[in-house]
């Protein structure tokens, strides 16, 4: 399997000198579905913001063989689709269509291409019927799916999702899990939902205090209760 993402010895401090990442390294191979877990403040979101260069720390990030530098940021952003925790942060356009079309339009793609991409992305999340709805009035679960469509329309090679299941009711959560299972794409998903981790992800990365505490098979990690407790986690 080809290596599509590699992060090497990543360090980052916020302007208040709080070290949020203190040497993080890992790799993703094509088709990997990986969970990223850890207590509040572990650095999960900070790490994700590095993957497409919204934050820039010390260390290397390489996406699809291209090293992330200031000059190839736009190209990297076309390869990594980042979905934020709160769909309200992701959806800033009046209609679902406008939002899903933003990425392709910004890339300067021709009109027909934009339209087909939007259709395909909405289909993938089963929301084609919502094309002309206003995102403002959708339920949380629906918004989550649209948020995923907004990055799918950019045809990313890797999907990075920050706590996708937070705030969903059981039914919406179930729909989301099925959706993620069926998307044939490399993904890294941060979450506090240990049952989803167990169900969906063969591999898990545990972060705590800016470091990777474990990286391996989900089954093994979840069976070590002492280790989980140590990092503020719970068995599913």
């Amino acid at each position: 399997m080809t290596n599509v993402l590699s992060v090497r010895d990543l360090h980052f401090s916020y302007h208040d000198h709080h070290a949020a990442l203190r040497g993080v390294s890992f790799e993703l191979c094509e088709g990997d579905k990986v969970a990223l877990v850890g207590p509040n403040g572990a650095g999960k979101s900070t790490l994700m913001l590095h993957l497409n260069g919204i934050l820039r720390g010390q260390g290397d990030v390489t996406v699809g063989g291209v090293r992330l530098t200031r000059d190839n940021l736009p190209a990297i952003r076309a390869m990594i689709g980042l979905v934020f925790q709160n769909p309200d942060d992701q959806l800033f356009s009046p209609t679902v269509f406008d939002d899903v079309a933003f990425g392709p339009l910004h890339m300067g793609l021709p009109k027909e291409e934009v339209l087909t991409r939007v259709e395909a992305a909405l289909q993938a999340v089963m929301m084609s019927a919502y094309r002309d709805r206003m995102s403002h009035h959708l339920s949380v679960g629906e918004k989550k799916r649209i948020a995923i469509a907004t990055v799918l329309s950019m045809n990313p090679q890797i999907l990075v999702l920050d706590e996708p299941s937070a705030g969903l009711d059981p039914r919406a959560r179930r729909t989301l899990i099925n959706l993620l299972r069926e998307l044939p794409i490399t993904m890294l998903v941060s979450t506090h939902d240990m049952r989803m981790v167990q169900e969906l992800f063969p591999r898990t990365i545990v972060m705590d205090e800016g470091l990777i505490a474990a990286d391996g098979e989900t089954k093994e990690i979840l069976s070590d209760e002492g280790f989980l407790n140590e990092h503020g986690l719970e068995k599913p």
């Binding site: 009046p94 209609t95 206003m134 403002h136 009035h137």
Partner: protein, 312 residues
């Protein structure tokens, strides 16, 4: 991302005491009226609504968009606030915003805050709301177009008032400051107009009830239209006058005893001075202003039309 001060916020020290006090008085009177009006129309809901809307304007000023060469446009929000909340509430909201910017971030001074509120809160409300109100019953496209022009004009009005206050305080040379301020703000105003129109059309599409008859934006009537039109006309007439023929304006100011009232080291203003490199271009200034206004109008009508089509 940091908080970016807008060029209209005058710091302390740049206006003299007389000018500062005059604008404090005007502002206090208007705020007093605004308090009693909004209290009547909103009742106990006033506090949370105004407070959160003020936070909204503050936050919305941070939404920028890249223009070219590393510069970016953003919103001042006076016209938008007046259009969506009504003129009085808009004034109160802008007052709170400017007060916090001055008190907390030193973006704008304390002694000169009256003038800053006048420039960015009161003038913008009069123009923004007055012009918009005059087309209240017209189709959405027209309303959006007029709102865009009003937003542009409101920024120009703020810039002109700022220039005049600086000049009356003896801080700037009239012609230079007017040309420089209006020149810069003609561009800033374009960004203001575009964002205001887009934000309004967003609201028209999602919550038209907030902008329709019976909403805050339908309150008040002819008085505001008259005020808006008059202020707009003054801006339209005064800016070319101040930049092309400053002597006339200066004479009026001297006759009214304005100019040396607050100047501690009174100096004689040479009646016929011109800064050479700017003085030779009054005609082109006027021309540029007119062309700029026409372009804005054109863009607004076109975007207004297309947005209207989308809506229907």
């Amino acid at each position: 991302m940091h908080y970016a001060p807008a060029p209209l916020h005058i710091p302390d020290g740049f206006l003299n005491v007389t000018v500062s006090v005059i604008f404090w008085v005007v502002t206090i009177v208007m705020i007093g009226m605004a308090v009693s009006r909004t209290n009547k129309s909103l009742g106990e809901k006033q506090v949370p609504l105004m407070g959160i809307m003020a936070a909204f304007i503050f936050a919305a000023q941070m939404i920028n968009f890249p223009v070219a060469g590393g510069t970016s446009g953003h919103l001042l929000g006076g016209a938008l606030a007046a259009i969506v909340l009504g003129p009085w509430a808009g004034m109160l909201v802008m007052t709170a915003v400017i007060a916090v910017q001055g008190l907390l971030f030193q973006d704008g001074g304390l002694l000169v805050m009256g003038a800053n509120i006048f420039n960015m809160g009161l003038l913008t409300a009069a123009i923004g709301y007055g012009l918009y109100r005059s087309v209240m019953n017209k189709p959405t496209g027209t309303k959006l177009a007029v709102a865009g022009v009003a937003a542009w004009l409101s920024v120009m009005a703020g810039a002109l008032a700022t220039s005049l206050q600086l000049w009356l305080s003896g801080t700037s040379n009239l012609q230079t400051v007017v040309i420089a301020m209006l020149g810069v703000h003609a561009l800033i105003g374009l960004g203001e107009a575009l964002i205001t129109v887009a934000a309004l059309s967003f609201i028209f599409r999602t919550r038209p009830d907030l902008l329709g008859e019976g909403s805050a934006s339908a309150e008040g009537g002819r008085g505001w239209i008259i005020a808006g039109v008059i202020v707009s006309l003054i801006v339209a007439l005064l800016s070319p006058l101040a930049s092309a023929a400053p002597d006339g304006l200066e004479r009026v100011a001297i006759d009214m005893g304005f100019i040396d009232a607050g100047q501690d080291a009174p100096y004689e203003i040479i009646p016929d001075y011109t800064v050479p490199f700017l003085g030779e271009t009054p005609l082109s200034t006027i021309l540029a202003g007119v062309i700029g206004a026409l372009i804005v109008l054109g863009i607004m009508v076109v975007t207004g039309r297309s947005l209207q089509k989308k809506t229907s």
